[in-house]
Symmetry: C2
């Protein structure tokens, strides 16, 4: 009925919005109700029609912008109470929300962090004068002040105070500022542990959202973690008392002679790092004393530590699900807010393309006209000219799609002359055959064995001075031919669209570069030669499980990277504290009085006519500059022999230094347990997903197909012509030309994007999601009158979409 | 209708069974159909009625026995193809299936295993002459032969051959026999690695069913495990080649000078056991070489090892579910088999109490008459005199219940005189009050801090020579008073029925014994004194999470113990192999030429007038006898510094010894990963369960309530009188006396048992279970005509129960 109108709907006037952008309320406060009156006149009649139209357009632009901001907030999980509330705030918001500003934020944060490379215990090559680095610091801090003031302008003072993270940042900034000035005035660095707080500038960056989420998740997992940790420590204390009673009568046992030693050694034993040494003196005296240690390790290491993992894993699972739920509902609310700003009073049941296009201009400025229309069509499942709220809820899933015209040609060489076609077709069939694939696998395997045997034969010596071995050339030729065949057979575009082929390509390229380096004796590039064994990775395509594992790995990579960054932030804090307290305390032969003297020894004695160097090397694990500290902290993370580092430092400082190392161990234990829980969760989730959807074959992400007819394109061109958007018109004209060339009346476009964890979760929790939605809308209905009296239309949104659906049915 | 008959049903004749026990087919083959004919005459009329009845009773006894065997097979997950098929097999089956026989099996297996304490590299105190231990071994093996021959008699030769485990056992037995004879003839032990196979005798024991299941689960988890292991080893090889190329030019680096060393050291690095030492020489030369190690550890240790856990965890989960399913269906089939043997032609819709009682006499001979009837009543949900198949399916859930008369008195002192009652009531209220509880917690906490401080003050010296400290007496008095109050307030039975109280009781008892030991200077019991801190464990009652954890721990204990035993079996195999190859190779100062010389050094040099002993102690980690081997293997399991043990042994034997240690590492990694997966799975399952059933309060196991009226008891007494079972009659008479005493017409009984994992799974997979059942019955219907032509009535079982239900409704 009403929905069967011709595409003429595109040429309609703007109509008046159901709800006006909050930015207009202030600006147009003088023209009162006239705005509505003017626009309610649906036919342009008077002479000032143009002026009216342009005012209406301006007002609509504001609506578009605010809707786009809502959608962005939904995407980034920004709470709505930070939503810019008036035109002034909007200007600040726009200033503070673009990649240039984000980059500035990131680079000042990085600058501040990197300063510790040059400050007091500096990396030798990067040492800077106090004046230089303090000035740099002040400069960076001033930039941060500027950023914060922009944020305050946008948030308003009230919200600014309420926003915890920003407040913490402000306090840290204040402290840093004072300290930087003090350093500059005194021209000498004092003990600045507060430098460890610099990380907060990085964490607060827009680009580090994932790190923030990780930190939140870590803190949320803490309460159950601490419970179990207490259990662990409790047993440790009990065993320490027992151990002290049992073993201190043995005077040759240095591990249990005092209660403190007993405690420390059992703590270290928990990490297994001093086992079996800690057992040996008592074991030598009485073999049955091993029971004490076996029982202790069984309870603490094999039971409670696993319990810890179980508890964290469980909490992690639960948090992941709750997080997914709240994100989903937040996005939904954002969509509702945006929707209200885009519907007109004349047509309250949906968004027309005109308004949708206006929204996308602000939401994704880079999108071309064709893509905007395709997104609109993809959303619009009811085939009416308007997108209902129900359809609009899919906005985030659809807007990320990359659209491409479906190709009519099967191969890239279909248009070539007959002979060439046949040749390429032959190559194509060959390349796709299993025989070819397995031949290549065999070649790779032989190559692998060859490299292994070759390396095994080479016992020491300088490997690179020789000529290029013939085997290298042979294998490289084979790979080159394979690459050539595949590129010609499949076409370069199709060839490189597969990740595995890309990997093959780059490995072969590296091998070729290695050959060049060998052939022309380019010393610094020799390392490329050793990358040859990477070819063997290709063998892992063979088995489905490996493909699954590697696919999951790539899917998880961003998340893993953010977890790694989170760990680095903890490292940074500990490195700063370590440098402030322990810089320079460890050096060769420093700890000759301690129990770990051997590891720090550096003796250069002469036996006969030969000098023998006896090196313990552990003095290299120090906190002398930030890079060394990072390496030392990594060694502490790996845990093995960490007590040697701890005892070394302790023997040069006080007993209390042990606290630093123990706290570091516990913190890394938390983070590591969470990383393990994350990997476990991700893989188990993925495997469950695969098991649940066994029927659906290997998925290539999410694909959507949409057909566009010529008339539609003409319609949109008209629309753009009216708003005199020349580039868009030209783009669309090209599509019509293309259609004319192939004599088609319509073109099919494919929208593609890779599958994200959120898509998987959507499918896994399918049933529950409906419940959440219902619960959410119920809650909102009851809350709306209290919280947002202005948007009373909110609760009527749901019935609207229902009404529309029933109309479509009629 | 038909079901509303008076209890007279108990006095009915046996009736003729729908299906005869297979043992009768052979025995009664001469009397042909007469059996049915006789029993079809439902009223005893002729003079030979008694003889007929007794024959019928004998035949029914056979049916009961076979049904009981079916149910046992269902419970133990014995496959039905090992079901004894005729009377001869039955005799052998009965002989081989009782606790005496099981104990014999277990003790011979243990004897064989323990022999290795006394054989060639024997524990010094237990050394036996070759003649003695070889004779013992032969004796044990002969017992095993006897056991196997009984099994063969029962299984029949055909099935015996088909039963894999038994066949393997036979082969091992054969080899062991020959070897034992050879040892006895030569009077000297040869290299007997096959002794490692002795474990199979233990694994095959009836009591070690859990170990068998664990082993099966481990083997089922292997394929995915091996896949990921290959990935791990693959990266190791790639990095070994890279490391060799990068670091072998550095001559001060002993870790990468050959490809073999490079591989071995990266393998050890995977266990982190040689980190950071392995990095130090190259790190000292070029700081950036740490990147190699960081990347290696990140990929191998932090990623792939966790992946391993994820894959095993996932497979484990899946196997657990499948195992639960197959067990459930197996039990169901067993119940169906038993049911067919217990219904009569006259009443094909259910089992009467008479037959049910007959079954229980064989299935659980220890059950008293009252419990049998209560079990029957608990099963019989439709309140008809017959138990339908549908009800009978709950057999395993109900038969484990322990029945007790519900007490009418609230407290044990209700019957006492008024004054005493008031006193005890006061104590009861006091003991149950929160104030009392928290006071006790405070006392325990103060005691804990006291012990800690006291121990801290005592720095070394002989602690036990002093007098009894007064604090000990004070605290012990408080605990004693608490114990007394609680016992009197709650009554001894109720007090000891809680696990936590039991724990309090035993700890207080130990503390008291410790006091005695101190007071009377009993030297050997001093160790009890050090158990005092265990009191602190009581504090963990405070928090719900700890209660949950500890409850789960106790629930899991049997499973954990069986996993531990499985690990011990692996230890045993490796210990035997280790002893055969490495016994006596490691001794003080044995390895002065190797890189780990320090750890094996034992120097006794004089400095001034004092002898200083420099001990490396590692020579204690040897394979000189089986106990030492076990300790050494535990140290290898803990992994830290295991390479010192490996290198020590390797330097005294060949390079190939490393294989032993590496294989051991991989095997323990498998077992440990599975233990971790098990703990994870159990706890996550438990926590999910708690989350799913949050409404149901803390559960005290499964509780069922049944009321029995006096008439019913009289009815059963009549029944037993007819079959002249005097003890049962007397028992039941007692119930009537009890009822008369309190003037009741009926008594309520409570059936209780603790919740098992199977119960939890039942609830977790509720929906799926119905699907499984349907699928199973469908499959069976389609299979029955092919596999078991005799039991065509099988497929009619389901409709039967349905028909019965509809009749009940009418």
């Amino acid at each position: 009925m009403r929905w069967r109108e011709p595409p003429a709907i595109y040429f309609e006037d703007y109509g008046s919005p159901v709800e006006r952008s909050s930015y207009l309320i202030e600006l147009n406060t003088n023209d009162g109700g006239s705005y509505d009156v003017i626009n309610d006149a649906s036919s342009p009649a008077a002479g000032d029609c143009c002026a009216q139209q342009s005012s209406a357009r301006h007002n609509w632009e504001m609506n578009y912008q605010e809707a786009a901001i809502y959608l962005q907030e939904g995407e980034n999980n920004d709470k709505f109470f930070t939503h810019p509330k008036n035109a002034k705030a909007l200007a600040a918001y726009l200033f503070a929300h673009n990649h240039l500003f984000y980059l500035m934020e990131l680079s000042t944060a990085l600058l501040l962090l990197l300063l510790s490379l040059c400050e007091a215990p500096a990396v030798p090559m990067l040492r800077l004068g106090i004046f230089v680095h303090a000035t740099l610091e002040l400069f960076a801090l001033i930039v941060v002040v500027f950023e914060l003031s922009m944020k305050m302008r946008w948030l308003g003072f009230q919200t600014f105070i309420r926003h915890k993270r920003t407040m913490v940042k402000t306090c840290v900034l204040f402290v840093q500022f004072i300290e930087a000035i003090v350093v500059l005035v005194r021209q000498t660095s004092h003990v600045r542990i507060t430098r460890a707080l610099r990380c907060i500038f990085l964490v607060d960056c827009r680009y580090c959202g994932a790190v923030r989420r990780n930190l939140r998740q870590i803190f949320q997992s803490l309460p159950p973690f601490i419970d179990i940790l207490l259990l662990l420590l409790f047993f440790m204390v009990i065993f320490a008392i027992l151990g002290f009673y049992l073993f201190s009568p043995n005077h040759s046992d240095p591990y249990f002679n005092t209660l403190e030693n007993s405690l420390v050694n059992l703590f270290v034993l928990l990490t297994t790092s001093n086992f079996p040494d800690v057992m040996m003196p008592s074991y030598a005296r009485n073999p049955w004393s091993c029971v004490f240690f076996i029982v202790y390790l069984s309870i603490e290491l094999y039971f409670i530590m696993n319990l810890l993992l179980a508890v964290v894993f469980d909490t992690f699972n639960d948090i992941e699900k709750r997080k997914f739920k709240s994100l989903l509902l937040h996005k939904r609310t954002a969509i509702q807010h945006a929707y209200r700003l885009l519907i007109t009073k004349q047509r309250p049941s949906g968004i027309s393309f005109k308004h949708f296009e206006g929204l996308l201009r602000f939401y994704k400025p880079r999108m071309c006209a064709r893509e905007r229309y395709l997104t609109f069509k993809a959303l619009n499942q009811s085939n009416t000219p308007l997108v209902s709220l129900k359809d609009f809820y899919n906005f985030y899933e659809v807007v990320g799609l990359k659209w491409k015209a479906k190709r009519n040609r099967e191969h890239w060489f279909d248009d070539l002359p007959r002979t060439a076609f046949l040749i390429f077709k032959g190559i194509n069939i060959l390349v796709k055959s299993r025989v070819f694939q397995y031949t290549m696998y065999t070649v790779v395997a032989v190559n692998g064995i060859w490299i292994l045997v070759e390396t095994f034969m080479l016992q020491g010596g300088n490997f690179f001075s020789r000529n290029v071995p013939w085997s290298y050339i042979v294998f490289l030729t084979i790979y080159g031919v394979e690459l050539l065949l595949k590129t010609t057979g499949l076409g370069p575009v199709e060839y490189l669209s597969s990740g595995w082929n890309l990997f093959d390509f780059s490995v072969t390229l590296f091998a070729f570069l290695g050959l060049m380096a060998l052939a022309f004796n380019m010393e610094p590039f020799y390392f490329i030669v050793v990358l040859r064994p990477l070819q063997l990775l290709r063998l892992f395509k063979l088995k489905k499980r490996y493909r699954n594992v590697l696919d999951t790995m790539f899917e998880l990579f961003p998340r893993m990277a953010s977890l790694g960054l989170t760990l680095l932030i903890f490292y940074y804090c500990f490195a700063i504290v370590g440098m402030e307290f322990f810089a320079g305390v460890v050096y060769p032969n420093c700890c000759n009085t301690s129990t770990v003297a051997d590891s720090y020894r550096w003796v250069n004695h002469t036996v006969g006519n030969k000098t023998v160097v006896e090196e313990g090397y552990y003095y290299l694990n120090n906190f002398d500059n930030i890079l060394n500290s990072f390496v030392t902290l990594f060694e502490l993370t790996v845990v093995n022999d960490w007590y040697i580092i701890m005892e070394g430092v302790t023997s040069q400082t006080t007993h209390w230094s042990r606290l630093y190392f123990m706290i570091f161990y516990i913190v890394t234990m938390v983070v590591m347990t969470i990383i393990v829980a994350f990997i476990l969760d991700a893989f188990v989730f993925r495997m469950n997903y695969t098991r649940k959807n066994q029927d659906s074959e290997e998925d290539n992400g999410i694909v959507l197909e949409k057909e566009i007819s010529k008339e539609e394109v003409v319609g949109i061109i008209e629309l753009y012509k009216r708003s005199s958007a020349a580039t868009e018109t030209a783009q669309l004209q090209k599509i019509i030309l293309q259609m004319d060339k192939y004599g088609q009346m319509s073109t099919v476009f494919l929208g593609r994007r890779s599958r994200t964890k959120s898509d998987l979760s959507m499918k896994m929790y399918e049933e529950e999601i409906q419940e959440w939605y219902e619960e959410h809308s119920r809650k909102e209905e009851s809350q709306t009158p209290l919280q947002e009296p202005a948007s009373a239309s909110n609760s009527s949104l749901k019935p609207l979409s229902l009404r529309q659906r029933s109309q479509t049915v009629i």
